[in-house]
Point group: C2
Chain length 245, copies 2
Amino acid sequence: MQITRPTPIVEQVDSLLRDRIRAEYYLPGGRLPSETELAEELGVSRATIRTVLARMAVEGLILRKQGDGTYVNQHIRAINTHSGGMWDFTRLIASSGYQPTIREISLSIRPADDQEAEILSVEAGDPLLSIVRLFSADGRPAILAKNVIPGYLLKVSPDQVDGRLQIGDLLARCCHQKIAYTLTDISSMTTTPDAIELLNLPAGSSLLVLQVTFFNRNNHPIVHGRSYFNDSLLQLRLVQAWGAH
Amino acid sequence: MQITRPTPIVEQVDSLLRDRIRAEYYLPGGRLPSETELAEELGVSRATIRTVLARMAVEGLILRKQGDGTYVNQHIRAINTHSGGMWDFTRLIASSGYQPTIREISLSIRPADDQEAEILSVEAGDPLLSIVRLFSADGRPAILAKNVIPGYLLKVSPDQVDGRLQIGDLLARCCHQKIAYTLTDISSMTTTPDAIELLNLPAGSSLLVLQVTFFNRNNHPIVHGRSYFNDSLLQLRLVQAWGAH
DNA sequence: TAGTGGTCTAGACCACCCT
DNA sequence: GGGTGGTCTAGACCACTAC
């Protein structure tokens, strides 16, 4: 049995409002109750309501108009846009309307090369846990994801690592580490030999490459990943509120 | 003379703290004063300080540790990552350490094709203002940006449009429109003929393509853009806080 | 145990939009 | 004018971390 703390009110309100939007209790393009009304209905202060609405506005889920009201953004169907969601490839595939499957290609301990050592702040040759996975959408290979984790972080034996976990859960389970933030470089490339084979792409076609480094709250790099993204099959979509800064 | 309103305290505090971080008044990796101290120093409430710090934490600029303190993230050098910043190519190039220049390739009124009509909610054949620009970094062509704006939005004559403005400013100036949020699809492609020529790339190389639609607060599409990004020259980098949701 | 950030409240006033 | 979101304050209590 897991000990659970009372969920913060903000989180509860957040879930509730998102559920209502998803269930179209608040219609797409329709207006939400005023902040005051929501606060009264849910028995919380207006400030609490406002932090939740501010979060949803940043994601573009709702549109706020001073002097008028708050509206559901009908252009945002799936919400795969924010934070953890972007690297949860299973969810990303599902929200694109496909059936996701994960295939573990390999999981092994191997020495770090120079570049990996630099990125992960370890010495070249130090052991790394290397995980290569292939995510498919309706059976068609869509994303080839390669991740490396410094070996010293591993708290369990490699064969106990579940390659089907999302990277955040895997880190929590096997390394007792929490991700604080991620740094992503987006680039493109023409296919590499293994990408051609695993993603089943014609030679010479282009691919999206997402190069991600995950840091914990002590600002230490804990995972480095390269994901090869078949963008003819899946769409990488970002939503950004403009006024946010 | 432009009428100006008093800048909100939150914005002032935001600028002040970012300036201090940039100037290394707060050292990279170093600790900021506590929320209470900052509130006292600047003569504002703790809540005000907290909304600013929350914003900076979402961008990954600072790391917050409960029971400990708030720290400057030394891994974040340039802040081109958020909101408007991402589409301000001039700033993006500058923050990558290059000297940016803009060249206007063309600026004309032309009819909308089917796809553009669909995206911009107009009829095919309706007039569009089409702007093609080339952004260079240290003289080397880096980004080819094509934008189209529904003609009915234009409040000035086309030859009065300044092709060197950032897209948000251009909309404000020429269309009296404000951007509320943007929707971006990121994909890759092998070079098109005009990209080869303008971006000076070898045939068969890959490009990043950013397909952006800008909406106003009434949720009407007001601009659609395609930007071809020479990612061997410039890096498209995202920072995301993890706990944000 | 002291100090930090995290959560939450209650209430005030302002700016804006609609009618 | 009446209602909406935008800004800001003062203060309370909790949870976590370092010492």
